[in-house]
């Protein structure tokens, strides 16, 4: 199983299995960097996995004053859901509760996409007939009066229908500290890839799951094969030198973006080496029958 070794790090001959999702992108701006980041952090909160949240969301990239439509500091966020309808519902709720409420913000669509969903159009009635519409260069915006001035929000937001959710890397090391060092290096590298997000806390998930459970009615439960404390008592996937496993999950706007993000993460982890970082890298899949996108680690090596 472990034929490939790079810089002392064992690479599994395995693959990550990912799924088609619908994605939208938003740009939020504010008078200061602090409030732009705050709005983005709030709007992309509680959005780690579609298993239990309305969508998977994260910050793609911080935008400088020159890169935003209104010349203020901004943040580009991406939201992934199972369907366009699901994305619209999640977006309207999140914008209504997290962006409309956040001081100083304005909201723009990040890309045109395949179809449009209503965001500002669903929010304008908050203005109680005092809202004003402004159209420029084929885009329409709503000016909704609020207590700190006006909330400017684009009427419609683009959705890309064929995006990819669930690219991943399983990072395994001797202990928590070294594994975390390697995983953080991977996360930092993937942050540099545009159009991809890592929806879990800080980009990292520690509770990987398997399908099924010993309990009735539970569809997923802890992936005991990768739990280091069960190495002796369960059918383990870990060698004696592995004491910790962490996973990076990646959602991207295209197949190519996820591939590039995994490649960047893998390179950073390998570069760190087995002494300071990870001893082994794997990838999670369900046997290849569920998801149409397969990312083989051996194809992504530096």
């Amino acid at each position: 199983m472990q034929g490939i070794v790079r810089n002392g790090v064992r690479i599994n001959d395995s693959f990550a299995e990912a799924f088609p999702m619908a994605a939208t992108g938003l740009i939020v701006t504010a008078p200061t960097r602090k409030w732009a980041n705050q709005a983005a952090a709030t709007a992309t909160g509680y959005a780690t996995s579609v298993i239990g949240c309305d969508c998977e969301a994260g910050v793609d990239v911080e935008l400088s004053e020159e890169e935003t439509p209104d010349g203020r500091p901004g943040v580009r966020m991406l939201f992934f859901a199972f369907s366009t309808k699901g994305a619209e519902k999640a977006l309207v709720n999140r914008v209504g509760q997290c962006i409309l409420t956040c001081p100083g913000t304005a909201l723009y669509s990040a890309f045109d996409g395949d179809v449009k969903v209503k965001v500002g159009d669903s929010m304008r009635q908050f203005g109680d007939k005092w809202q004003m519409s402004k159209a420029i260069d084929g885009r329409r915006f709503w000016r909704v009066p609020v207590m700190d001035g006006e909330f400017l929000v684009e009427s419609q937001v683009g959705v890309i229908k064929k995006t990819v959710g669930g690219g991943n890397l399983l990072v395994m090391g001797a202990d928590w500290e070294s594994t975390m060092r390697a995983t953080e290096a991977g996360v930092e590298a993937i942050k540099g890839v545009r159009d991809a997000i890592m929806p879990f806390p800080g980009g990292i998930v520690r509770s990987g799951s398997k399908v099924g459970s010993q309990y009735k009615g539970m569809s997923a439960s802890t992936n005991d094969a990768y739990c280091p404390t069960l190495k002796g008592v369960t059918k383990t996937a870990l060698e004696p030198d592995i004491g910790c496993t962490l996973e990076i999950v990646i959602d991207g706007l295209s197949d190519e973006v996820v591939r590039e993000a995994m490649r960047a993460g893998l390179k950073a982890i390998i570069d760190l080496g087995p002494e300071k970082g990870a001893k082994r890298v794997g990838a999670g899949n369900y046997g290849g029958k569920l998801g149409p996108f397969h990312y083989h680690l051996k194809d992504l090596l530096p």
Partner: protein, 269 residues
Amino acid sequence: MKPFTFTLRQEPPQRVDLSALTPDRLAGKSLADIEKIEIGTTRASTKVGDVFQLAEGDLKNVRYEGGSARFDLVGAKLLPEFSIHVEGDVGLQLGRLATGGKITVSGNAGAYAASGNEGAHIEIKGDVGEMLAAPLAGELAGMSGGRVVVRGKAGARAGDRLRRGILIIEGDAGDDLGSRLIAGTIVALGATSGRVGYLNKRGSLVLAKRPEIGPTYIDCGGHVLTFARLFARALRADSESAADILSAKLQRYGGDTAVYGKGEILTPV
């Protein structure tokens, strides 16, 4: 490739209707066919060949070498992707009901320029007559999209019944700028006079020089408006000064409260 060019031979003997000379309507016609097109507006005949010397070229771009205040309906119903340039003046209803494309006029334009414009970008380097972007008699709304930039002065009632789109007037505007405004945006950098924004419903009038503002407009205080910053960015390529005004803190006068009253006059604080 060179533009398709109409060079003026002499001032036409009567007003001429040039609505037939837009790129899409000339497509597939030979030079001889085009020369035979009737453009007269009286019982006396005036044909294209009588007024213009033609030079074949890329029909996506039409150029008039020499203009006249008798050139009516230049670029009427112009379609997106096409462009027309006039080196000289034009007459009435420039770009009437254009759905897109770009029209530039190096001289002056007559009344009802950009009337009913739905999406064209129109630039007039000189002055423009009265009723810029206004509806013709009997029509309910004026311009409904696109952008008009006037480098010189504008006549009375510019932006009458504007419904959507943006007007930038760099020179002085005549009486009653933005009368009966339905929505949309007007930026005026010069002086304004008369009943500015009379019966304005939901439109925005951005005025570099604060005029006497009527009693039906109510002072709402000075504000930094995000939409204005967005517009400043989008309009900078067309007018640096208009972008500068929009970037400043603006005093907002809400009105016209004599009617619907959801519009505004914005002037630098």
